[in-house]
């Protein structure tokens, strides 16, 4: 089939372009402008050169936040991906229970972030929260407002509760797309359960799993609301993730210049990782399709 060349269609993209310019490009440019200047408000700016970038790059606080951020993303990926696959493998393939499972699984995904944070903030309290109370009854010294490890534990559990469903639903969709013939062939070959998983289910889920990993990584790398509501970065700075630290610099201290430099570096890291994921994904698709 021959396609007709029609470049006029580009004009139809213009409204989107204008919208994106005002919602993303212009604010981003402004942030770049802020990052090389200092201000005390009133729209009066003083040139600062590369000072803010140098300060941020040499600040222990930023590196510590970055370290915590990477550790948080690594922990939740290590839990949510295998758990999500496990849940998906054990979900019913057909029948009335499919809908029940799907609805139950999507429930946490429908709850807004700040509500999830509030739920866990109360749930984990030792005096009135069910979870905190249970821990106290079991004789476990648990207090997420005092103990760094408990705070991390609460945040990780909360994220697992909130987002494992997403991985499970994506993996389930991948599993559903495998034709029965594959399983029949495996049965004829007397393949073990592990081999069916390793050589049929896992390769067929690869595409959706990569999307799941990308989504979960980006979301957890930019997490703000939930830890802000539950711990606010504390105790001390134990759960001070990048976004929380950034907001403290920008709004807590009103240091717009350093915050702008900080955001640009944060953005660059996110951009780099997204690009790597995207490239890996599209290349796997191409090889799979070839």
């Amino acid at each position: 089939m021959n396609k007709t060349v029609n470049q006029k269609a580009w004009f139809l993209v213009l409204p989107v372009l204008v919208l994106v310019a005002f919602s993303a490009v212009i604010p981003l440019m402004t942030v770049v402008n802020y990052s090389v200047q200092d201000t005390f408000g009133n729209n009066v700016f003083f040139p600062a050169g590369l000072e803010w970038f140098r300060d941020t790059l040499q600040s222990d606080r930023m590196w510590a936040s970055l370290g915590r951020q990477i550790m948080f993303s690594a922990i939740i990926l290590a839990i949510e991906v295998p758990l999500g696959i496990f849940v998906a493998l054990n979900m019913p393939k057909k029948g009335a229970w499919v809908s029940v499972c799907l609805v139950l699984m999507s429930l946490p995904l429908l709850i807004p972030w700040n509500v999830v944070g509030t739920i866990w903030q109360i749930f984990g309290r030792v005096d009135i929260g069910l979870f905190g109370y249970l821990m106290a009854q079991l004789g476990i010294d648990y207090n997420y407002t005092q103990d760094a490890l408990d705070a991390w534990f609460t945040l990780v559990i909360m994220d697992v509760w909130h987002w494992t469903s997403l991985v499970a639903l994506l993996a389930y969709a991948g599993l559903q797309s495998i034709p029965d013939a594959y399983y029949q062939a495996a049965k004829i070959d007397q393949a073990s359960r592990w081999k069916v998983f390793r050589y049929i289910e896992l390769p067929k889920m690869q595409g959706v799993l990569l999307i799941a990993i990308l989504l979960r990584f980006m979301d957890s790398f930019m997490i703000y609301t939930e830890p802000f509501v539950v711990t606010g970065g504390g105790p001390g700075s134990a759960t001070n993730f990048l976004s929380i630290d950034l907001v403290k610099v920008a709004l807590g201290q009103m240091d717009l210049g350093p915050a702008a430099a900080y955001s640009i570096m944060y953005f660059l890291v996110v951009l780099l990782i997204s690009w790597v994921f995207y490239t890996v994904m599209t290349n796997i698709d191409k090889r799979g399709g070839a």
Partner: protein
């Protein structure tokens, strides 16, 4: 009119150069259509992809240069030029 965006000459030049690059590469793409190829990274890249890799990499080169205090910042741009050449030649 541009007061609210707090422009400085340096950032204006920075964005003008990027806008210029995008424009040049768009014109190049129209005049000489891009053909993807596989380079040392074992991934398919077009000319536009290589520009993106160059720009993103240059940002990190500049940050590393600044963070490790290697020397005066303008020299980092020379490293970026070498890097750009390498990307367009081999990636």
């Amino acid at each position: 009119m541009l007061d609210w965006m707090a422009w400085t000459p340096a950032t204006a030049i920075f964005f003008a150069v990027i806008a210029g690059l995008l424009l040049v590469f768009t014109i190049l793409a129209i005049k000489f259509p891009e053909t993807p190829r596989v380079g040392v990274l074992r991934i398919e890249t077009t000319r536009g992809d290589r520009l993106f890799i160059t720009l993103l990499g240059s940002a990190f080169i500049n940050l590393i240069w600044l963070g490790l205090e290697v020397g005066p910042q303008p020299y980092a741009l020379l490293v970026c030029l070498v890097y750009a050449f390498a990307v367009f030649r081999w990636v």
